[in-house]
């Protein structure tokens, strides 16, 4: 029992348990640092356990394999970064701080469940745990109008999209009689008893639910508003962990249910990918709100990953995972800068907040530049190799049209990253005094940012070790 179930699910249990512990700790005595410390500890334990736990199928709902553990580790690490950022961020803000960490842990747990899920039920449960945690996180600064509005918007849209998802699952279930990913592939392959007019609309509805979480066009409309409204660390969470968990699930679902065998579904994927790449990159072009720019850019990035997903096979899956890692690093880094720069009363989301940053806080500006260049896919950064991997995977299967569109749109995208970089490097004399007054970066946040930057460059130059891990993870997936 213990060996079969408890140990393999340790990473999940640790996070869940930590949330309970933090709750109890809050009940005993409110202390921001204690709550933060416990959270960090729990996440670190979960992260470390991901290296040791044995690989096992937990019932039919969860599959703890190398693939799942890889994502659990990634999510845990990202959650730690978010927690660190939130610590400094919340310390300056009004209201109770401790519950934030409970919600953070719960939402993280949801994402981890998604990463291990191999069944629609666990998909739904993970999704709901993640979402409900997120609603509260987004609206956490409840005295401020924007976060609350963002919370409501996200809630309404997420809830309705999960209704779509559920209805889709119901249709698939009605057609096949199973909600297990791998069984779906077997049944679909056997071809008996199939009503494609139930199965395929079902898949389409499921894609709505998934596409919403991943902010893929045309389900992307919420992204800029929520990114803008949510507190910066939460935005980082939405951008990375929530999407990462969901993409981990999508990849597993896609490859275990062999969605690539359904050509109409592939067409839908292509449309979504192309629409996302165009919409994301075009929308960001002349945007002046940095958080919205990052929102739009995340739409585009999910489009790129979708290209890799659709390409499929060993190379495609590897590209998806690598790109997600890259995306985690650079997005977290970018939001770390936003968090660090945010003054008490609002988030530093206007491009004007960044003007001349290089001349005031050069290291911060250079870190941000590295993140932006990585998002743009410039060599020496992990973002470059991620893009390279995707294009290589696309080339291997001859998906020329898709990668050509990827190249064109990412060049359009370059423009807005460079706009931000231009602002960062504008001469001091030209910038107004409107910029936030000089502050010191909190050491913890500085550490996060520098670690992220170093990893960004290290993986950009020597991606081999990561590639090795990823290949091992894929091995269990396919």
């Amino acid at each position: 029992m213990i060996a079969d179930y408890i140990i393999p699910s340790l990473p999940l249990l640790l996070v869940a348990g930590t949330s309970v512990v933090v709750m109890l700790a809050v009940a005993v005595r409110r202390n921001h640092s204690v709550a933060f410390g416990l959270t960090l500890l729990g996440l670190a334990a979960s992260f470390c356990s991901a290296f040791f736990v044995p690989v096992r199928q937990l019932g039919i709902l969860l599959t703890v394999d190398r693939y799942g553990l890889f994502f659990i580790g990634l999510i845990a690490a990202a959650a730690m970064a978010v927690a660190v950022l939130a610590h400094g961020y919340l310390a300056e803000r009004e209201g109770n701080k401790e519950e934030f960490y409970i919600l953070l842990l719960v939402a993280t747990l949801g994402a981890m469940v998604l990463a291990c899920s191999s069944h629609f039920v666990s998909l739904f449960l993970g999704l709901e745990v993640l979402s409900i945690g997120l609603y509260s996180l987004i609206g956490y600064l409840r005295e401020r109008p924007l976060p609350v509005e963002a919370g409501i918007k996200y809630l309404v849209l997420a809830a309705s999209s999960s209704a779509f998802l559920l209805f889709g699952i119901a249709l698939v279930y009605a057609d096949l009689g199973t909600m297990e990913f791998s069984r779906i592939a077997q049944l679909a392959a056997s071809g008996t008893n199939l009503h494609y007019d139930l199965l395929l609309p079902g898949v389409a509805l499921i894609l709505t639910g998934i596409g919403f979480k991943l902010a893929l066009a045309p389900f992307h409309m919420w992204t800029p508003d929520i990114y803008q409204g949510a507190p910066a660390p939460v935005t980082a969470f939405v951008a990375t962990i929530s999407k990462g968990g969901m993409f981990a699930l999508l990849l597993r679902y896609f490859s275990q249910s062999r969605l690539d065998l359904f050509s109409p579904v592939l067409v839908v994927f292509s449309i979504i990918a192309i629409a996302s790449m165009f919409a994301g990159n075009l929308l960001a072009l002349f945007e002046n709100n940095v958080k919205r720019i990052l929102a739009y850019s995340s739409i585009a990035h999910m489009g790129y990953v979708l290209v890799a997903l659709e390409v499929g096979g060993q190379a495609g899956a590897g590209a998806v995972i690598f790109y997600l890692v890259a995306y985690f690093i650079m997005t977290l880094g970018a939001f770390a800068v936003v968090t660090v720069l945010s003054p008490r009363e609002r988030d530093a989301d206007q491009i004007d907040d960044y003007r001349g940053l290089f001349w005031r806080r050069p290291w911060l500006a250079l870190g941000f530049t590295a993140m932006l260049l990585s998002l743009a896919g410039i060599p020496l950064t992990v973002g470059f190799f991620g893009k390279f991997y995707i294009i290589a995977a696309g080339a291997a299967t001859g998906a020329w049209a898709l990668i050509l569109i990827l190249v064109i749109t990412s060049t359009i995208g370059l423009f807005y990253y460079l706009r931000v970089v231009v602002a960062l490097f504008q001469k001091q004399t030209e910038t107004e005094a409107a910029a936030p007054t000089r502050r010191r970066t909190a050491p913890a946040a500085a550490l996060v940012l520098s670690v992220l930057t170093l990893v960004l460059i290290w993986l950009g130059v020597f991606p081999s070790p990561l590639l090795r891990i990823i290949q091992a993870a894929i091995h269990t997936l396919l």
Binding site: V121, Y135, L155, S162, F167, A170, Y173, A174
Partner: protein
């Protein structure tokens, strides 16, 4: 004991879902929007029950219970947010929620 055919159940679920969706798109009051979402979720739930009965498995009904639980949790958070929202804006009109975006 040839029960209701599955297709009837699915159609009922679909109709509920559509009604909920229509409410979501047409209602301006946030509270009623939430109600509409509940209707959509229930539509999905009905579809699950119908599908479960086709395969004579409990899975459909279990799923329905999960949906109920999740919907309840969602609604509780939603109501909390709505209260905050109403205090700040003095209205629950969805179309006034445009502090973000434009």
């Amino acid at each position: 004991m040839n029960a209701v055919p599955m297709s009837h159940g699915l159609i009922l679920g679909g109709i509920l879902f559509a009604i909920g969706l229509a409410g979501l798109l047409m209602r301006r009051n946030l509270l009623l929007i939430l109600v509409s979402i509940e209707v959509m979720l229930n539509g999905a739930g009905v579809a699950f029950v119908a599908a479960g009965s086709r395969w004579a498995q409990p899975d459909g009904q279990i799923m329905f219970l999960f949906i109920l639980a999740a919907a309840a949790a969602e609604v509780s958070v939603a109501l909390a947010l709505l209260v905050r929202y109403y205090r700040m804006r003095g209205t629950l009109d969805a179309d006034t929620a445009r502090g973000l975006g434009e």
